[in-house]
């Protein structure tokens, strides 16, 4: 016993060091799991309020670019409303449209903190549980996908950026239905991503557009993700690897939409049954 105390007192510094490292790695492991309700993230009141204040100032730096993007998006949306289409039918239908129930609703949010230079990047938004945001909602801009909500506090939420080594999004070509998986690694940099598992026989060329598929429970189908920048045959397999130019500008994103999939729970419940059956 005496020897034990002697040992402890002689090596207390190293032991304390090892204990603290153990604590740190416990925290790292905790943080890697999907949800953590803890306060030690940038959605907490103090940190988020500070980022909020700073971003109010820095947002002015990107104002011109953001206005241009909003105008562009407005133009696209305007082109989609029925009044912009030439009416080819003689009789206008007066039947209430029961074919199209609303599946997605959108919550506008401002990015108050954003990182693009790490392996696992995150964003903080100025909307939280008060605005109806819950974890695992998708986040997009008018130009492409951004990520998935991770933690939510009363007024703020954190988002796992697509620029994350664990990201995987199912994408397809806009012009045909061939699909693959879009992944990201820090080698890609904040403007590019890699699409894998595109079969060899798929016809495509540089500049083709890729969009999200209906496989994802987070994003609606057909949201643009990017365009083909270059491609090559994956050595040792029969599929293409595509380097994609991301359409969402991650470096200066400031306004985003959080997607509320109204049917997500229904779908999840159904698909969870499959997992249980295995």
């Amino acid at each position: 016993m005496r020897n034990l105390f002697l040992f402890l007192s002689r090596h207390y510094f190293s032991i304390l060091f090892l204990l603290m490292e153990a604590l740190c790695f416990y925290l790292i492991a905790q943080n890697n799991s999907y949800h953590n309700a803890g306060m030690l993230n940038s959605a907490n009141q103090v940190v988020a309020t500070m980022y909020d204040g700073v971003s109010k100032v820095t947002d002015y730096l990107n104002l011109a670019e953001n206005n241009r993007r909003l105008a562009e998006e407005n133009a696209q949306l305007r082109a989609m409303i029925p009044e912009s289409h030439f009416d080819t039918t003689l009789v206008k239908s007066t039947v209430q449209d029961s074919l199209h129930n609303q599946q997605y609703s959108y919550i506008e949010a401002r990015v108050i903190n954003n990182s693009t230079n790490r392996r696992n990047n995150y964003l903080t938004l100025n909307r939280g549980a008060d605005a109806g945001i819950t974890p695992e909602m998708g986040v997009i801009t008018g130009h492409g996908i951004i990520g998935i909500v991770k933690d939510v506090s009363a007024h703020y939420c954190t988002v796992i950026s697509f620029l994350n080594t664990q990201s995987k999004v199912s994408v397809r070509f806009k012009k045909n239905n061939y699909n693959g998986s879009m992944i990201w690694d820090s080698d890609n940099g904040p403007t590019e991503a890699t699409v894998i598992d595109i079969p060899r026989h798929v016809p495509f060329k540089i500049g083709d557009t890729l969009v999200t598929t209906a496989y994802s429970a987070y994003y609606p189908e057909g949201i643009m993700v990017g365009t083909v920048k270059e491609y090559f045959l994956d050595p040792g397999s029969n599929s293409y690897q595509i380097i994609l130019k991301l359409s969402a500008g991650f470096n200066d994103v400031s306004y985003v939409y959080v997607i509320n999939n109204l049917l997500k729970n229904e779908r999840k419940k159904l698909e969870d049954n499959l997992k249980d059956a295995k």
Partner: protein, 172 residues
């Protein structure tokens, strides 16, 4: 003594703010992230109790973690730095030892001594940090290159910071 504590607290707040609001956004040449906040640990008094040193390292790292959503990563690296600091100071000790109340300062110890001190400490910190972030060894050399280049950038920035802000205290 008290004024030293207040100075340390101010230094802590300033370094954390500069790190999270400025240097966290910077990415030189695509993959070099500078980290200047370990300077806080390096400037603590030489004779600081070791337990307090580890505790302060943990708090410093954790503050950076909370701001950058990397819970535990910076804390682990900074605690590692705190653990190594007494050994580094012992290795670099001048022939007649340190003065009782001394803190390692650029203008007291000379640029060459301080550069060694910075290079060893920041390298150890970055090495631990970057490999914890990657958490695998199959990109060993790429990560190593990032460590080396980021270390050099951080050290350079720290020297600039010290010349800008620490020099004035000397004149007073």
């Amino acid at each position: 003594m008290l004024s030293e504590v207040i100075k340390s607290i101010v230094r802590f707040i300033l370094l954390v703010l500069v790190q999270v609001l400025l240097f966290n956004k910077i990415r030189f040449a695509g993959f070099i992230n500078p980290f200047v906040y370990p300077l806080f640990i390096l400037l603590l008094p030489v004779r600081i109790p070791k337990t307090l040193l580890l505790l302060l390292s943990f708090i410093t790292g954790l503050s950076i973690d909370v701001f950058s959503d990397t819970l535990g990563m910076h804390a682990a690296a900074t605690v590692f730095l705190g653990f190594l600091r007494p050994t580094i100071l012992k290795i670099l000790a001048p022939r007649d030892g340190y003065e009782a109340e001394a803190s390692p300062r650029l203008h007291d110890m000379g640029i060459l001594w301080f550069l060694y001190y910075l290079l060893i400490s920041i390298f150890a910190h970055h090495l631990f940090l970057f490999y914890t972030e990657v958490f695998r060894f199959n990109e060993f050399w790429y990560t190593f290159l990032r460590v080396i280049l980021s270390t050099l950038t951080s050290v350079l920035l720290i020297i600039v910071i010290l010349y800008l802000f620490d020099k004035q205290k000397e004149k007073r």
